[in-house]
Structure formats: C-alpha cells, structure tokens
Symmetry: D2
Subunit: 344 residues, 4 copies
C-alpha cells in the first residue's frame, strides 16, 4: 500500500513523495496520522539542515507531535482496536540499558525519536509505534488538539522537575508554545503568582488571557520588574523556554536564593555564557529538562479537562500539501503564529 509523506531533502527543501505503508510487528501499532504539530525543532531542521550534532545527511520525514487513528495492530497488542483515536509518545528507548531499567528512559542513549535523524517522523499518512508508546485520546478533544499532548508533556516534565508545590511563585521566560503550556501547567499545579516575559506583545496578550498574573515585555527591564513585583525576593522557580544566553541569565537573576531554575529551551550554540557568581551566591539548583518521562497520561488528562486551553495555542491549521507554507510562516515570522497544525 502506498502513502504520501513530506520528505526533507536539505535546507528549505521539502517534497511530497509516495512511500510504502509499513506493516506492524507483533508489538507494534500502525496509525493513520490525522494531525501533526510543527515543533521548533522541525523548523530548525528545515531552516538549517541540522540541530547540534543531529545532521540531515539523507532525506528524512520530520514531525513528532502527532495524533491519528489505529489502522492495524500486531498480534501481541491487546489494548487497542482499529479506529481507536490515539497519540504517540515519539521517543522509543532501548528498554535494556541502565537508564531504561531504572525508569529514566528519556536519557537512554539509543532512543529512536520520530523526525530526528536517522528516524523518520510523522508527516506521513501512516506511522508505526511500539504499543507501549501509544495512548488513547479523551473523547472530548479533537485530533488537532491532541497533538498538543507532546509539547504539553514537555511542560509537565518541566513542572515535575521544578517540584512546584502549591502556593509557590513562578517566572516563565518565553511565551511561545512551550512557555504558554508551562504557564497553564504551573497554574494547574497551584502556582500562586506567575510572571511571564516575551518580546512579542501578541504572545503576552495570550499569556494574560490564559491567566498569567503579570505579563512583561522583555524590552522593558523584565527582570527588574519581576524583582520589584516580588519585593526584591525573586520567585521560587523560574522556567526558561527560549534557549538563548540572555534569557537563561534572566531566569537565573529572578530566582530567589535557594530557588530552582528549570532550563527547557535548547540554544543553537553548544555553549552559553552563564552568570555563575549569581548561581553560586544564591546556592541555586539548576534542573535541565530533556523530553519527558511517563507524562503522556497527565498531558492528555490536562487537555481533556480543559485545564490546558488549546484555542489560544493553535493559531493555524494547514494541510500536508501546504507544509512548505507552514514552515515559511514560522521561519519568516510574518504572521502571529504560536502553533501550526498540519492535518492529513
């Protein structure tokens, strides 16, 4: 059987091609993809042909924020039937290494991650996934909304790593898709005050609408403002969801002595200059976030319960044939876009 797929051939070159539909192995599920979100990393591969050490050396299908319907199941698959509406947790770890066996599979060093070289991803009509990485979608959310289970998982992982407890104050540096999802997740985890910063007023208005206590334009001395609002104390936990040197230092600056800084954003460059004197003198805990660990059920429950508002996040929907246009919107930043969903 033949399917359509969007294949990246190199910088800014995507072609719609035909591929063979794969057959599920005994523990696998074949999924008819219905919707795929465009992630910053997809855009990055599209624009530069690489992310750090991951280089596009042969044509690759991108995409990992995906939902669809079960099309066929391997013979050991008991808990899914044809037609089930599902999302895929897109990193498939080895299951055998030290890290997998102690339950920290997100740092497995031989993980296959959808849409990351050399593993093909989800911009295709069909996709295989191991049964343990497939999750049913709550009935009240659409395929498009369900694709947010993946970025929401990043937010949930960040919030768990930050060990937010009820009543704590939070700063979020960056109001892109991940920043806005972290905002909603910390609110649902009981944060008492949330300060969010960005350079883009469109995003800040969204943040405010979603319930941020204070949304601050980063051009206007954001860290000074956060320190003032917190009476020069700083916040209990700061989340960084941009991935550039300045914003990481902002996160460090606005965190209280003894506080936690959670770093989610992935910088382009391998090394960044960080204010180590501040981190030392405040005896901070810096917690890095890499993908997620057993977060899909929580992410789906947050989406199903309405605690994560998807309307403010999904700003565009396009078809697979329009994928090049979708990439252009994000690289050229001509339109106010938060999250673009490709439908199939």
């Amino acid at each position: 059987m033949i399917m359509k797929a969007a294949v990246l051939y190199g910088k800014k070159s995507v072609r719609i091609e035909e591929r063979e539909v794969p057959k599920p192995g005994v523990d696998e599920v074949l999924i008819r993809i219905k919707a795929v979100g465009l992630c910053g990393s997809d855009v990055h591969f599209y624009e530069f042909g690489r992310i750090g050490d991951f280089v596009v050396t042969r044509p690759i299908i991108l995409g990992h924020e995906c939902s669809g319907a079960v099309a066929e199941t391997g013979k050991n698959v008991k808990n899914f039937i044809e037609g089930d509406r599902v999302v895929i947790e897109p990193g498939f770890p080895c299951g055998k290494c030290e890290f997998c066996r102690e339950g920290k599979y997100n740092v497995c060093r031989t993980v296959a991650f959808l849409g990351t070289p050399p593993t093909d991803g989800a911009f295709a009509q069909f996709l295989l996934a191991p049964k343990d990485f497939v999750f049913k979608i709550p009935p009240n959310i659409s395929f498009e909304e369900a694709t947010l289970a993946e970025p929401t998982s990043v937010a949930v992982q960040a919030v768990k790593r930050g060990k937010i407890s009820v009543g704590e104050t939070v700063a979020i540096i960056g109001a892109g898709p991940i920043g806005l999802l972290i905002l909603q997740t910390v609110m649902s985890a009981g944060a008492s005050k949330t300060y969010i910063t960005d350079l883009d007023d469109f995003r800040l208005r969204k943040a405010k609408k979603l319930g941020a206590t204070i949304a601050i334009n980063a051009k206007e001395k954001a860290s000074e403002q956060i320190m003032n609002f917190s009476e020069d104390r700083g916040v209990d936990v700061a989340f960084e969801a941009v991935g550039i040197c300045n914003t990481i230092n902002e996160a460090i600056k606005v965190t209280k002595p003894g506080g936690r800084v959670v770093l989610v954003g992935i910088p382009l460059e391998k090394e960044v200059r960080l204010n180590i004197h501040k981190m030392l003198a405040k005896e901070l805990d810096i917690k890095f976030v890499w993908r997620y660990l057993r977060t899909f059920p929580t992410a789906l429950a947050l989406l199903g319960s309405g605690k994560i508002n998807t309307n403010e996040i999904i700003t565009h929907q396009l078809t697979l044939d329009e994928i090049q246009k979708a990439f252009s919107i994000l690289t050229e930043k001509k339109e106010n876009a938060i999250k673009i969903i490709i439908t199939l």
Copy 2:
C-alpha cells in the same frame, strides 16, 4: 481594660467570664478577635477534658482558628497598623532549639499553642500574638472565612508532605472540615482524580459539589470501590483525615505499591493496630502531619483566590454567648455541621 472570654472549667463546663485585656510586648500585636472556628480538638477538650497527654488541669480559654483586627502594636512592630484585618498562626515556637533553627518549628518541643494547656486561646475579645505569626487577610474575604486559614494550613501541610505532583491520583479518607479542605487543596495542586470517603452522605454530597471525582460511602466497601475504579492499582497518595484505626488501614489499603500515605487524623487512643504486612510489601512511605510550617500565606492565597470554597465548609455561625450550644451541636451530632464559627 476588661474583656469577655469563654473559659473551660472541666468536662462540658464553659463559663463566660471577664478578663483583663493584655498589653502587647515590643514584638507583639494585640488583636481584637472577630471570629473563631471550632476545631475538633476544641470539642475534644470540651467533651473529655483532655487530649492524650494534654490535660485541662486549670481553667483554660480554648480556640485557635481565629481572625480579627489589629488593636495595638508593640514598638518593634513595623508592618501592621491599627485596624489591619489579620489571622494568627496559633503556634508560637521557641525560635532557639535545633528544630526551630533548621526551620522545622512545628516540631519545636516548647511551642506555645493557643487553646492547648497551659496556653489560653482565642475565645476572647482580645488576644496577643508575636508579630511574625500575624498575617494580613485578603480584602475579598470576611473575618469568618479567614478563620479557615488555620485548617486550610493543615491541608496545605498535608499536601506538601504528600509531595503531590500534577496528574497524580488521590484518595481522601474522611470528608469533615480537614478532609474537604485537603480535597480542594489537592485539586488546586493538580490531582487528576480524587476519591473521597465518609460515612455521612451530607458530607459526601458536599465533596461531590466541591469537585471530588468520586465520593463513596464508607459503608459500601469503599476501599474495594477505590481499587476497582483504579483498575486494582490504587492511588498515588492517600490522605487520612479521620483518625481511627479502620480508616488508617483503609488509606494503607488503597495506596499503590511504592505510594505515599499521609496521616493527618489524630486518634483518641495512643496506639492503633496497623496492617504492617501491606505497608512492607508495598514499600510504602508513611508521612505524618503535625500542624504546619510556613503555610499561612498559601492558605490565605487559596482562600482569597476562591480555590477554597468556604460556603460549603462553614455551616453554622453563633455568638460567643452561644458557645455551649455550638459545642453541643458538634458533640451530639444532631445537625449537619461541618464547621461552626463563633463571632465576637
């Protein structure tokens, strides 16, 4: 200056008497009491003249869930002025022992706790408190509602001890004031599913109204039901807010392997029979809760934000002169009462 106070002389004997209004020391605040909640421990002292090792050996003024207005301040008190609407955190630790100095002042062994022998409490027109244990009330809540800052603090302490993280499932054994406040606090901390049990349908209806996922009458094999609803897995965290042998064992029973049990209820008897085989084979963590630690700001914020619904908790309001009647309602259990507030 003279004030009225309700003095307990022994089992079921309370007299309204006149007392001298105290003068604040340099670091103290004198508060004109406006409202005081009746706590289970007050009722217990009233009914039995003792709680465990704490025995009423001389006349005592009970009451520790109180709010009022600042009447006078000592000369070192900078952050309060006359008329400020405030609540009191009612345990005043020594500040010097090992436990105080490492920040765990709730286990200070020489704490003075309002309304616990030998320390007089809040059923009086005026009360002194050290300035660091006085907190301003958000403008949108009344003195009566503000008294819930104290029991809400117990709930917040329980939730912090239980280290709830977003998406976890919770069982609450007991839907009295503390159980219903724990319910609302875990919901605001991101619990995905909440099972609550009690013997009293009136309380269970309240729990349901406040948002409990499932409210179960304890007569109807509650633990079996919770196990069924959770597909025989059990919950991530169970809270016990009754304080009897059976309910503690229920909490143990419905907790998943590797889960946490948070014990808040204080049994009458010193020792209880616990199912140790279950606790061992599931390698549980049992976390006891004793009062609270730096929780008043969070409790007041939860009340101010409306995340804690006070209407469903406060069922009766009476005056200081009616205090004996208030005790009777709770000891005789003739009326559906959750929390009774005495106004002054």
Copy 3:
C-alpha cells in the same frame, strides 16, 4: 542430568531428593550452586509451613541467598562464560508492569522470588537465573562470603531508603544478620554515632566488635538509654530489624522530631499496635523496606572492599545433607548462630 535438592514437604520435614537439572533459555544462565545462606524466612517456612499469605501447599525447594559458578549460558547471554563465579539477585520481576517500567521492580506484583511459593529456590545443585539478575563476585571473596550479597542488599536498600547523610546518628533495633549488616552499611555511609540494641549479649558483643558506638541490651531500658546518650534528642534515623510490635515502637520512640524510621523486620502477625501519637507529634517519616532495587553491585563492592566483615556474621557452615540440622540450630536457638551457610 540429575541433581540433588533439599525439598520441604511441610512443617519441619525436609528431604534430599533427586531432580532433573534444568536447561537455560536464551536469556538464562545455569549456575552450579556452591553456597546458600539460611535466611529467617527459610526458617519460618520450615517451622510453620507459611509466611503470611505465602503457604507451602506443595513440596518446595527453599533458599535464595546463593552463589555459584556459571555452568551453561543461553544464546543471548554475552557477559558470562562457564566458570564465572556469581551470585543471583533472587527476585525476577515481570519487566512489563507500571512498577517495573518506572524502575521500582521490587514492588512488581508478579515477581518470581526464589524459595517463595510457588517458585523453587537454591538448596539444589543447579539453578537457572535470567542473565540480568546474575552478578560476578569480586575475586577476593569466597562463595560462602558472597552469599551475604543478598542480606547486604537488604541493608543497602534500608540505608538508601533512610537517606543517611554523612554525620547523622543512627539507632538499629536488632543485632541479627540484617541488623549487623545495616550497622556496617550505615558506618560505611558516614553515620557518626550508632546505637544498637538486642536481647542477646553474644550479638551485642559482635556489634561492638564491628564498630557500634554503643551496644545496649534491650532488657535494660534501651530506649531510655539511647535518649540519654543523645541528650534527650533522639537519633536522626532508626532502623528496625526484628519485626515485633515492641521493637517497632522502640524505633519510633528513639527517633528525633522530624526524623526517619526505616522498618525492615517482618512481623509474624499481619497487624501490629503502633504508637501513633508519637509518630504524629514528631511528624515522622516512616519508610518501609521491601527487598531491594539495583543494590547487588553495591553489596558486592562493600563485601569486596572489606567494609562488610563477613567473619563476624557467618558463624556456621554445613553441607546440604546437614540442612535439617542447620534448621534445628536456628529454630531451637541452642547455639550462638548469626548466619549459617550451606555448602554444596
């Protein structure tokens, strides 16, 4: 091929029988057993025919503290060759359930545990084990000493659960094999003072020889003594390694406010009466221990480095044919026995 095995037929009835030597599956290792330690649970099955819900309903081979030499390997086994000296971690979890997948395989509910009905154990000339549960023995320790890797694993798990940090004070209730191994493990983890109690002076002398700061006969008001030695403060962490009501309450009593109690001993009865008022008013953390989790490498390293002294622990060595005598020594308590090793 035929091997000898000691088979328990019911209370106090063990027969040496012949059994077929099993063949290893693709992921299994066949081990020629050289030494097996007698555990309290073996003795319990021997004496009563059951432990709690585990009942000997058909003839069973006991024994799970074992060492031996690799005799044959399945075809997927790469890291062992014939003759390798090894120990077996004796609980084989399912590897697929929620608990296994998050790395807490010790609470897997379908674990097969050697010598626990319905799984045959190690009192036999040959035994199969999955390759991931086989560990090489350091060259400087004997097969007999290596059997202590299993009870040392229990001690390591207890110490990890207790989160001992350098300089903390510790009480250990019970100076049997597990108590003495916990003593040595907390010493190697930096405990500054160790108080140990037992009824048996022979064991207390051993404890003292192994480095306990103070060894106290439980007949002589042990908890009062520990409180006196610690200036009425109590210890940071107490370990209970007896499993009876009184000793568990002793552990609770000697722990400081805000401290941790680690319960390892398994009582005969399902329920025990515990002093809940003390646990509440000190806001204790009670941590149960069930077997172990990834502790074998550490246990073997402690044995190999000499930090665990095996001479004081292993008091008797007998042959498989003498197993009934070995059981008698332990049930009749006529001789001073700590750990008996059966050699094959």
Copy 4:
C-alpha cells in the same frame, strides 16, 4: 587591652598593627585565636584587593578558618567556660529574614562573614563570635588541625548537596585543599570509586595516598580517561573544586545521564561558558554550593575520628609576623603548598 592584628591595606600590602581587644556582648564569646588557615579567598583579596563585588575599600583584617580558646563570655552564654578549645563558624546571619527562618541561613543576604568586607576577620589575637556559632574541638585534635573544620564544612555541604548514597561513583575536579577534603568526605560517605584530577602531580600523589581510586593529571585527557574507566557511562556525581570554565565543563562531561554536578569552585570572572547541550541532553541536576549549613559538628566529628587526614592537607605553619611570606608562598606557587596555617 591591646592585641596584634594583620591588616590588609590594599593589593599585597599587609601590616601588623595594634588594635583594641573587643568586649563580648551578652550573647557573645571572646576567643583568643590560636591558629588560622589561609583560604584561597584570603589570597585573592591579598593579590587583587577584591573578589567580585566584594572590594577592599578600607583596611581590613582577613581570615575566617580559625580556632582558639575561650577568653571571656557574655552573660547569656551558658555552654562555654574560659579555656574551652573552640572553632568559629565564620558567617553570622541575620536570623530574621525568610531564608534564616526556613533554616537556609547560608543564603541570608545580610550575613556578616569574617574577613570579607566590611567585616574584620581572624588574623588577630582576639575575636568575638555569637555563641551559637562557636563549637568545641574534640580533645584529640590540635588548634592547627581544628582550623580545617571550616574548609571541611564546605566539603560536607558539597557532599550533602550532592546527595551521595553508598556505592555511588564520584569524580572530583581539582585536588587543592577543598578537592582533597571532598575526596575524604565522599569516601567516608560510602563512595565506591573516586576519580580525581589536577594539573599538579604533588597534589595527585596526595590524593592517591588519601585513598582516591584513580588520580589523573588533567594534562592527560582526564575526562576521556574517566569515561574509559567508567566504561563510557560517567560517574553518578561530579564535584568541581577549581572554579574555571574548562574544569566546570570537565565536570559536566564526566557525569552520567541523569547525574548530579556539584559546583563549589568560585571563578574569578562573573560569567563562564558552559556546555549547555550536554547538560540538556543528559537532563543533569546542577547544584551550586555556597558556604555551609549546620555542618560544623559533622566536620569536627570527621576530624576527630581521623576520617579526615590533616597531615596531608596542612603543609606549612607560620607565625602571624610571617603572614606576608605565607601569602607569597601561595601567590608565587614556588613551594608545594596545600594549606598554610598561621599560628598566634
């Protein structure tokens, strides 16, 4: 009464002067100083006249690693008498701020720290200290050895922050005084393998003598060697005790996925370039260390028990009059010096 003191007037300018001996306040202890260790920060102030934002703007007495004998006590001081041999914990926090009250007094923002502008330090014949920051010395260690209680406290704080558990593997970058004390502290906390690196073979030989598993010269591809020795896995915890960009990145490099990096060294420059991709992809926890928190009793116990070997650390002893020479030895690095003690 008049005493001698060594006063820093600016870069490399120290004068021995006479000062008035202070009188103890009611809660203070006057100590006749007997020995003071030279810390890297003292040397730094001597050489550059500043450390980061702390600038020597008026003459200052340096020194904070000190021991002595009680000379006089204020009237509220009960637990010390004249002649008691003591050390001083040299940071005196405000005791009233949020951080002090929750027990994290090391991040108090108004701490007075001996020998750090504007607070005079210990290179003087007498010194005052608040009673709660004075600790008795074990009888078997000398005044000179006792000065190591301060740097050992840094090591203990680092090890506590790193949450070392028994059997874990450790890398220590830097074998100066702090690195060698961390080495001994992690060994006493049960580390199974310790890799230590430095550029100086004299220091590496000391590390080896003190028990390091492997001591590696940093010129010889230290991080590759550590990765090889750990079979490309990395260590559980890495400690950085140098404070330069390269060594911090070494610590990051040799830590296992999901591991912890503890940063103790204080760089000269405010910002350093760190490999953020490695920290993200391994989802590391970075824990900064700032001074110490309640560590003096543990540090003194480690010194008293001989677990910290002082002979290998203290390489020079000079008198107060020779202090300029002592500074020269350390700034000119002509002699093999680890720790220099000034005796008075």
